[in-house]
Subunit: 457 residues, 2 copies
């Protein structure tokens, strides 16, 4: 153990190897309170690909597991330490190595903060779409590892849709380059998209080539309120059926609305549900899209519809959506779940969450990305009460079961990590699990990376 620590210090410098338990405690877990976490042997912060390779080789030789980690903003415990592991933190590798506006791509290290990349490419009139809620502090490496989503996904897809290629340190310390710098390419298996979303179980991503898009037009915004959950769900279906693809379409349920009204000391005039939509198509196209959305909402029985092209007003309207989690903190701690259901089943999911809330006797507020069916039912509980925590856990699991029963998936964007391993097995079944194990064994035969995360070996 001491010899491993010596090797790690030789590899990354003594200052980049943390072993003091008080210090390493900050690297033991991410933002998911339900996931197990152990005590790491050490936390290392390499500054280069070569340092990552040296760390991986040293750990492999010592048989010490590695848990790769970004900023720690995850919501599934994927980056939680396992007992006696080395937590490999990539936040010091934070260089934007290249922005190529002519080929609309950027090459970055994994520690770049999502918001910093967005700001840097915006100067070139370009846009990096993936926008997880934690975009002001999460890193690209974590986004890649979890295939992060966000509010943009309804129009622009998730992280994997913006990745052209990767550089990955494998379990034996070899350096794999996947993908390419061109827009298209089918030379070999799509290893890029295999590593994206693999949650640190297959290797350490040390560099990424990302596809950029032209900066969209300034968004126009529409808000619609509904007297019933069913009517809001019907409005989403009508928007989809109309063939409109908004750049944002968020839903808030009754519980979220009430919490935000109390927090912001305002009346949202929204009974059972609120839809927030944007179009970033600009000009007449945006007007056409918002008009179609308005018609869909009115047709589904909206009580009130209001649209604006004004940027500041649009931002104000989104304040309600962004304030939900803060508003819920008045009532206790929150636990955010993450299911994705077919877009036609959103109302069923919200109604089901109301039933589950009543059963466990806790508040469950549903907010979500209505445009792609990705819902975040958020359970509020008293963290000082073991009983409430147990009931929150029960609600968390029941929501996952409900998502599956509605034809959905147990995770739309947060990942499996260490909190949904049993649910992954339920969703993909024994053959799917076997193939996962076969792929893991092929790339990481000694189970070096993030052992026991996602699925047991």
């Amino acid at each position: 153990m001491e010899s491993l620590l010596a090797e790690l210090r030789a590899a990354v410098g003594a200052g980049a190897v943390l072993t003091d338990a008080d210090v390493t405690a900050g690297y033991r877990r991410d933002m998911m309170p339900l996931a197990p976490h152990g005590q790491p042997l050490a936390v290392v912060l390499p500054s280069s690909t070569e340092q990552v390779r040296a760390v991986v080789r040293a750990c492999a030789a010592a048989g010490t597991p590695i848990v790769p980690r970004g900023a720690g903003s995850g919501l599934s415990g994927a980056a939680n330490a396992v007992e006696g592991c080395v937590v490999l933190v990539t936040t010091k590798m934070d260089a934007i190595l290249e922005i190529d506006p002519d080929n609309r791509l950027a090459v970055v290290e994994p520690g770049v903060v999502n918001l910093d990349l967005r700001a840097a490419v915006e100067k070139h009139g370009l846009f990096y779409p993936p926008d997880p809620s934690s975009y002001d502090w999460c890193t690209i490496g974590g986004n890649l590892a979890t295939n992060a989503g966000g509010l943009c996904c309804v129009k622009y897809g998730v992280t994997t849709d913006s990745v052209l290629g990767l550089e990955v340190v494998l379990a034996d310390g070899e350096l794999l380059r996947t993908g390419r710098r061109t827009v298209k390419g089918v030379a070999g298996y799509d290893l890029t998209k295999l590593f994206v979303g693999s949650e640190g179980t297959l290797g350490v991503i040390t560099r990424a080539t990302l596809a950029l898009r032209p900066l969209p037009q300034a968004p126009s915004t529409l808000v619609a309120t509904f007297g019933s959950t069913a009517a809001a769900g019907a409005a989403v279906s009508r928007v989809v059926a109309e063939g409109v693809v908004p750049s944002l379409m968020e839903i808030m349920d009754r519980t979220s609305i009430r919490a935000v009204e109390q927090h912001l000391r305002t009346d949202l005039n929204a009974g059972a549900a609120l839809l927030l939509c944007q179009s970033d198509s600009g000009g007449e196209a945006a007007r056409r899209e918002l008009a179609a959305i308005e018609q869909a909402c009115v047709g589904a029985g909206a009580e009130l519809v209001y649209a604006t092209e004004d940027l500041a007003e649009g931002r104000d309207l989104l304040t309600a959506r962004r304030a939900v989690l803060t508003a819920l903190e008045v009532y206790g701690a929150w636990l955010t779940d993450d299911v994705c259901v077919p877009r036609t089943r959103i109302a069923d999911l919200i109604t089901g969450c109301e039933r589950i809330a009543a059963e466990v006797g806790l508040r469950v507020a549903v907010v979500g990305h209505a445009g792609d069916g990705n819902m975040h039912p958020t359970i509020v509980y008293d963290p000082s009460s073991e009983d409430e925590f147990a009931r929150a856990q029960r609600a968390f699991d029941e929501i996952l079961g409900l998502g599956l029963a509605l034809g959905g998936t147990v995770t739309g964007e947060h990942g499996v990590g260490k909190v949904k391993r049993e649910w992954l097995a339920k969703e993909i079944g024994p053959v799917g699990l076997r193939v996962h194990r076969d792929v893991k064994r092929a790339l990481d035969p000694e189970n070096l990376f993030n052992p026991g995360s996602m699925f047991s070996p």
Copy 2:
């Protein structure tokens, strides 16, 4: 061998097992003349997933390799028979099982012809983007196996971008279900995108859940002519820099233009290069996009720019592009190459192809999807001359080397198959090749599926 044939007949019915060499000859190779092909033991045409499983189990037990095959429109020899194999043809599994307009998805069997799916979903106001040139006879199964592209890719991506989930028969006959019916989902590794583009080397795809889009607006069309290749290349770069994403952007070089002019007995008034662009954004948005493209072309020195919103006229303008391969047949047989380069290097690729054409003393016509840098230099040769064929092969390889040297890839959309195995190795390097072999071995330990295709085991 007789016992395997008996088992195959028992599995799929005697009429669906072809062994007559005259009949199986039609299933020995695809449309790529350079790729090697062997004599199959038998060609089987299963009608259901269960029949595919039975065929796979029988072949696995007998140690007889399986080459999965769609319509045979491929251009890399991926579906070419290996000596003594069973060619497993999926064209009889051609049912569109479901179209769900509310969730914008379709569930299909692999034998559905691309055009038939397009037509079926269009009745619901929906759009299946991938449009390889062979779309009127190629099948979805082949499109999935090769991750096929087409003219749509500049705006809508390639096949993998439209796939939500798959059903795959594995080497031991087990049935794997990957992905989901929801728009988003990150439960487990992205096995869906691992199988898409794996060219029949990892399993047999028996069902696919495909994402659909709203039907776009009727396209507006713009044509621009240039006195030099460099000016046309600069126009493409300016369009990209302007942040416009056309729904189609094709380029034709001097040799293509001359061939088409002779074939259609017309004067295209295009000196060195011609750009064809479309916008399917409709109305003012389309006008804005085409105006920006026009400005980019004029700024780059276009000699003539003409735009039209008229559908029939737009179709006429595209005739020249669609006529290239037919027009080249006057001069001999053609051999289409497929490289993708950074969009800024298109002019360099065309100029390089002119040099290669002069060196080998053959006509090389370059057409391509300029919007994503995916070029198809097409070599014309006399098939009755061994010498010309050898020179065509030399040109084919030199173009691949040129593509790599320009920072591109050796295949943008046709695949590696049995014609570019050495080039895959060159492009991805020894570590990439090793990981490919590890993944292949994990999923197909006995090397049952398409052995020796893409890379040697």
